[in-house]
Each structure stands twice: as structure tokens, then as C-alpha cells.
């Protein structure tokens, strides 16, 4: 009971940190004062740190990786979005990206709070060390694709107002779109492959055209097409941004839509 109270407190603290970070970042954008941007980034670091402790405590409490249902995966998604943003922040600074990533993380946690947060025992198929590798790698990919889609949307909006947004900023956004997709593609591939190895060890088939597997492949094909266009044809700008957004729509359907609309091996994920 004591552990549950602490977990709830940590969850709420993380959510509050992301929400305040979003407010600060938006205030910074409107007032054009850099101090708000710094506070926003500090709050995102606080949010990620608190969430890391939360995930760790839940892992210890449950005796397994806390990635087995909709609540836990949404918490992980919020965490990966902010982690990818912070990694990106080490190299580049775009204030509204802080607002967008904090908003995404806060939204993920707020939505997670609508699901049952009780720690439940795992069904036999999920009792495997592959669970943590598979889910963690997939969600690092999802987090990167989310940041890429946000940057792509920012590029599309800013390219309509070319006179007010600096060319340098748009070029930075183009680079972010390509870099985050490369990062996400690496991790999504690893996630799909670890899932295939796990499926083979559990059921004797590494690929069974389950809806989740199939939609992961669709997402992978979309981003593979992006990388080919980007690498070989040098596609950047608006066309690359649109592919990034289409790719993220596919990610959302893979993660969310499949759980609720299509039955399959991953049906437990909607609980």
C-alpha cells in the first residue's frame, strides 16, 4: 500500500513536471525570454528523472519490466518522447520543440491515468526476458518518430511563413526530421527483430502476420522508403515532412489502433 502511494505520488509529479514544462516553454515562446526555455528544459529533465524512478520502482515492485499493458506502455511512451527530445537538445535548440515534447509526454501520462494502474501478474506468454528488450526498443523508436513528426509539422507550418521564420531554423528542422527517423528506424528494426526472436522461442514461428506484426512492417516500410528518398534522391523539406507525418500516423495505428480495432497476439495490450 505504501509502495502504491509512493508510485502514485511519483506519477503525478512526473505529469505535473511535463505540464509545467509545457506552460513554461509556451510562455518563453510568447515572451521571447530565454529563461523560460531553460526552466522548461529543467522541468523536462525533472519529469524524465521522476519517471525513471517511477518505472524503476514499479519494475522492482512487480518483479518484471513494467511494459505489459496500456497503462504501462503509455507511461513508457511519455518517457521515451522526452528522452529522445533531451538527446536532441544536446545538439540543437528549438524552443517550441520543448513545448511539443512536454505536451506529448503530459498527454501520454494523462491518458495513462484513465487506465487501471494496478500491478497485475503476467500471462504465461509475457513471462520472458525478451519483453523488456522488445518493448523498450520499439518505444524508443516510437518516441523518435513522435519528435520527427512534430518537427515535420513545424517545418510545414514554418515553410508557409517563410518571411518570419529563419532559413536556418527550417534547415535545422529538416535535419531533425532525418536524424530522428534514422534513430527511430534503428530501434524499430531492433524491436521488430527481438519480437520475432521472442515469438519463435514462445510459439515456434518468428512471423505469423499478426495485425501488430503486420502494422509494424507497414511502419517499417514507410520509414525505409523515407530513408531511400532521403539518402538517394536527397528528399528534404515538405516532401520528407509529409512522409514523416504519414509514418507517425502508421506508428499510432500500430501502437494504438491495432490494440482496439484488430484482434491478434497482442490483444492483452488494450487492458
Amino acid at each position: 500500500m505504501k509502495m502504491m502511494v509512493n508510485l502514485t505520488m511519483l506519477f503525478n509529479t512526473g505529469l505535473a513536471a511535463y505540464f509545467c514544462a509545457m506552460v513554461c516553454a509556451v510562455t518563453g515562446l510568447m515572451s521571447r525570454r530565454i529563461i523560460f526555455d531553460r526552466i522548461a528544459n529543467g522541468l523536462i529533465i525533472v519529469g524524465v528523472s521522476v519517471q525513471s524512478v517511477y518505472l524503476g520502482m514499479r519494475w522492482v515492485d512487480a518483479g518484471r519490466a513494467p511494459f505489459s499493458n496500456m497503462f504501462e506502455s503509455l507511461v513508457l511512451f511519455g518517457w521515451t518522447v522526452s528522452v529522445v527530445y533531451l538527446l536532441l537538445r544536446l545538439r540543437t535548440r528549438i524552443p517550441w520543440l520543448a513545448a511539443a515534447s512536454a505536451a506529448l509526454s503530459a498527454l501520454a501520462l494523462a491518458h495513462a491515468s484513465t487506465y487501471e494502474s494496478d500491478i497485475r501478474p503476467l500471462m504465461p506468454a509475457l513471462q520472458s526476458n525478451w519483453l523488456s528488450f522488445h518493448v523498450m526498443t520499439c518505444f524508443l523508436g516510437y518516441g523518435a518518430f513522435a519528435i520527427s513528426a512534430v518537427a515535420a509539422a513545424g517545418y510545414l507550418i514554418s515553410s508557409r511563413r517563410a518571411s518570419t521564420v529563419q532559413t536556418e531554423t527550417r534547415q535545422t528542422l529538416e535535419t531533425i526530421v532525418a536524424q530522428t527517423i534514422s534513430f527511430g528506424f534503428l530501434f524499430l528494426t531492433l524491436g521488430i527483430l527481438t519480437g520475432a526472436v521472442w515469438a519463435n522461442s514462445a510459439w515456434g514461428t518468428y512471423w505469423s502476420w499478426d495485425p501488430k506484426e503486420t502494422w509494424s512492417l507497414i511502419t517499417w516500410l514507410i520509414y525505409a522508403a523515407f530513408l531511400h528518398f532521403n539518402f538517394i534522391r536527397g528528399w528534404r523539406g515538405r516532401r520528407a515532412s509529409w512522409i514523416s507525418i504519414i509514418g507517425f500516423v502508421s506508428v499510432l495505428f500500430t501502437y494504438y489502433g491495432v490494440n482496439f480495432l484488430l484482434a491478434g497476439l497482442h490483444s492483452y495490450a488494450k487492458q
Binding site: 500500500m1 497485475r120 501478474p121 500471462m123 504465461p124 506468454a125 513471462q127 520472458s128 535535419t175 532525418a178 536524424q179 534514422s182 534513430f183 528506424f185 534503428l186 528494426t189 531492433l190 527483430l193 520475432a196 526472436v197 519463435n200 522461442s201 514462445a202 510459439w203 515456434g204 514461428t205 518468428y206 512471423w207 502476420w209 495485425p211 503486420t214 502494422w215 512492417l217 507497414i218 516500410l221 514507410i222 525505409a224 522508403a225 531511400h228 528518398f229 532521403n230 539518402f231 538517394i232 534522391r233 536527397g234 528534404r236 491495432v258 484488430l262
Partner: protein, 401 residues
């Protein structure tokens, strides 16, 4: 993150014959990828598999499903045209792989590492497709269903019985459950008391002959009540001859509490029923009783120690030449391999816990596919991590990337 002009020039198509040029073109490759993606989307939206076909076999089967089945859309991933698309992808990959191989010698430095990574990635995709083809051609898959003590030496598959060179005997099947959390392991019983006009709701444990006080914050001692549980019956009934209240059985078919309420000048005794909350809730004396009672009693199955299924496992023996050659326990995520066959715990019967079903797979393509997986990660790491890092180092050192 886009390729350097040097890399692009190196992997551009040469002057091959028209077929090679077509297969190696980006437009062809991406058209195949697009068609595969669209087919995959359709494959997740249209019902797939044998259930659809058995439904169609019934008189008056759905006409739309009939059309979809005729087009091969209800067994999409095994249809000739989907497999044809995979072959087209493989052909395109082969040409592109050859081009990247030739390009390796034309570039230097970090760009060379990226081309090597790209080459390895394309080879890995070919290996995965090749492994899948080996599975389709030489793989075997079936099911063993048996009871405890029974030995079988063949596997049921879609192609009929598949003989094994050994026998498998089910020694024992076990079903394990998670223990329920301690908080819910104990019987859940409580008496809830509502004092509506004081906006008060309190609850007490069901302890016999223990007096509990019910008082609102603004009430004096004169308006407080004392509530005591006098009797607890798991299965309330009234003897039709004597009129005496008694327990019909120990099973919680009709749990009831007899309670005494003392306060505000009244003394009342009444029964409260878990299954019939509105019956007997009013005091029988007709006195003005502001309290209402609810008795909550969790059913036996809810308060038992048995939780969700933790594992199901089969203890088996492999019998070769009349003697036991191996003994293993097979469960989900813990398979067992013998003579090229792998056995997976797949099913059980909750109504007959002496029965178990194992999936049996013989897939010589797995090592090829796994080699593809390893190479894919190695190739992508070279393209996305090592190549750019080396390019960055080169820039730092003043080298032209």
C-alpha cells in the same frame, strides 16, 4: 543525414540490360514496397484464414466475403500475387545489393563504411527472405495432442500424420496459478452503515459481539448509535415448521447478519442480507430509524487464493529404441528441441487437466533468418552510427567527408 554526393554517384545504376536497370531502379523498388504496404493493410482489415473459408462453405455464405475469397484476399499473405510481390522485392534487392557491392571499391573513408553498411543491410534482407523460403519448402509444422501416460510417434499436420523417429510420452501436465494479493486473499466481509441526513457513511468489519459507534461530528452522545453484529450465517434460512432461523449450509449461498442497533431511545434487532440489500433493511419495530445497512460479502471464488494462470507445463519423456532418451518440462517460452524438431507448449483443456497440446516445428530456415537479423543490425549500425561518427571525426580532423 543524407548520403554524400560521392556515395550517391558510386551506387547509381550503371548501363546494365533493361531488366537489370528496371529491377535496380528506386522507382521499381519503392513501387513494390508501396504495393506490399497496401496489401498488408488490406490483410489486417479483411478477415483471414480457415475460419472465413468454413463460414463461406455454409449455405448462404456472405457474398462479399465470397468475392474477397475468390480474389485471394482472405488468405492474403499466402496468395500467389503476394508471394509474387515478395519475389519482385527479392529481385530488386539482389540487383541493388550487387550495385552496392561494386560501389564499395569506388568510395573511401566514412562514405565507404556507409556503403558497406548499406550492402550488409540489403544482404540481410535477402537472407531473411531466403530463410522464409526454406521454411515454406522444407519446414514442417504440426500438433501433438495427448493425455497423461500416452505416448505418440507422429504429429498431426495439415498434410496428414507426420511420422517421428522417436516417441513422446506425456508424463504429467501441470497448471499453476498466481496467488491472489494478500489484501484480497482474506474473505471480504463488511457492514456498511449510512446515515443519510447526517451525510455519513461508515463501514465495520464483521466481528461478532463487538460494539461499533456511529456518530456524526455535530451529534451529541444522545443521538449516537451503537451497532453490534449478533449472528453471522453463511446460508440464511427459516425452518418452516418451527420458524427458527438457521444456516442451511456452510456454503455462502445467502449470507446474512443479525445486528442490534441501540441509540436515540430505540433498541432494534434486524437481519441484513448480502444478496438482498433491500430486504430487512428497515427496522421491524416501526421506530424512526435513520440508519440504513448494507452487508457486503465477497463470493467464495472471489476471495479464494486462486488468481490468474501463471504457467501451464508438460513433463515429457522422449522414447528412442524402447528406452527413455530424455526427460524435459515444456512450457510457454521454454521449448524443447530433439532431432531437429522443436516442441512448444501451446494449449490445455481446463476441463481435463490430464490433456496437453504441443506445437511441433521443424524449420531449417531459422539459422538463416537469425543470421539475417544479426547482419541487419550490424549494417544499420554502420549506416546510422559508425559512418556518421567517423564522418564527424574526419571533419574534426579537417578531412573532406
Amino acid at each position: 543525414m543524407s548520403e554524400t554526393p560521392e556515395t550517391n554517384r558510386a551506387i547509381k545504376p550503371g548501363r546494365g540490360n533493361p531488366v537489370t536497370r528496371l529491377l535496380g531502379s528506386l522507382v521499381f523498388a519503392l513501387t513494390v514496397v508501396l504495393l506490399l504496404a497496401l496489401a498488408c493493410i488490406a490483410g489486417t482489415l479483411v478477415p483471414q484464414g480457415t475460419q472465413v473459408e468454413s463460414y463461406l462453405a455454409q449455405p448462404g455464405g456472405h457474398p462479399v466475403l465470397g468475392v474477397l475469397s475468390a480474389l485471394g484476399l482472405t488468405r492474403m499473405f499466402y496468395s500467389w500475387w503476394f508471394i509474387g510481390l515478395l519475389f519482385a522485392l527479392a529481385a530488386s534487392l539482389m540487383v541493388c545489393t550487387g550495385r552496392r557491392y561494386r560501389a564499395i571499391s569506388r568510395v573511401t573513408g566514412a562514405a565507404r563504411l556507409r556503403v558497406v553498411g548499406s550492402f550488409i543491410t540489403h544482404v540481410s534482407l535477402l537472407l531473411v527472405l531466403a530463410g522464409g523460403m526454406v521454411r515454406v519448402i522444407w519446414g514442417q509444422k504440426g500438433v501433438i495432442q495427448f493425455h497423461e501416460g500416452q505416448a505418440v510417434n507422429s504429429v498431426e499436420s495439415n498434410e496428414g500424420a507426420m511420422p517421428l523417429s522417436f516417441s513422446i510420452r506425456l508424463v504429467k501436465f501441470e497448471l499453476e496459478f498466481h496467488e491472489k494479493p494478500e489484501t484480497s486473499a482474506a474473505p471480504m466481509e463488511k457492514l456498511m452503515v449510512e446515515w443519510a441526513e447526517k451525510n455519513l457513511l461508515v463501514q465495520f468489519p464483521v466481528d461478532l459481539n463487538v460494539e461499533h459507534s456511529v456518530a456524526a461530528a455535530d451529534s451529541g452522545a444522545s443521538s449516537a448509535f451503537k451497532v453490534t453484529v449478533l449472528r453471522h450465517l453463511a446460508d440464511f434460512s427459516v425452518d418452516s415448521e418451527t420458524g427458527e432461523v438457521r444456516a442451511r449450509s456452510e456454503a455462502p449461498h445467502n449470507p446474512a447478519l443479525q445486528i442490534r442497533i441501540v441509540g436515540s431511545g430505540v433498541t432494534n434487532t434486524q437481519w441484513v442480507f448480502a444478496r438482498f440489500p433491500d430486504f430487512g433493511g428497515e427496522p421491524g419495530s416501526g421506530a424512526a430509524m435513520p440508519l440504513r445497512f448494507r452487508y457486503y460479502s465477497a463470493p467464495a471464488e472471489e476471495s479464494g487464493n486462486r488468481g490468474t494462470i501463471k504457467s501451464f507445463k508438460s513433463m515429457i519423456e522422449v522414447i528412442e529404441n524402447g528406452s527413455v532418451a530424455a526427460t524435459r518440462t515444456i512450457e510457454v517460452n521454454a521449448s524443447f528441441s530433439w532431432r531437429g524438431y522443436t516442441f512448444y507448449q501451446t494449449s490445455y483443456n481446463p476441463d481435463d487437466l490430464t490433456w496437453s497440446a504441443l506445437q511441433v516445428v521443424r524449420d531449417p530456415g531459422v539459422p538463416i533468418v537469425y543470421a539475417g537479423f544479426v547482419l541487419m543490425m550490424a549494417g544499420l549500425t554502420m549506416v546510422f552510427c559508425v559512418g556518421p561518427w567517423l564522418a564527424g571525426q574526419g571533419r574534426t580532423a579537417g578531412e573532406v567527408p
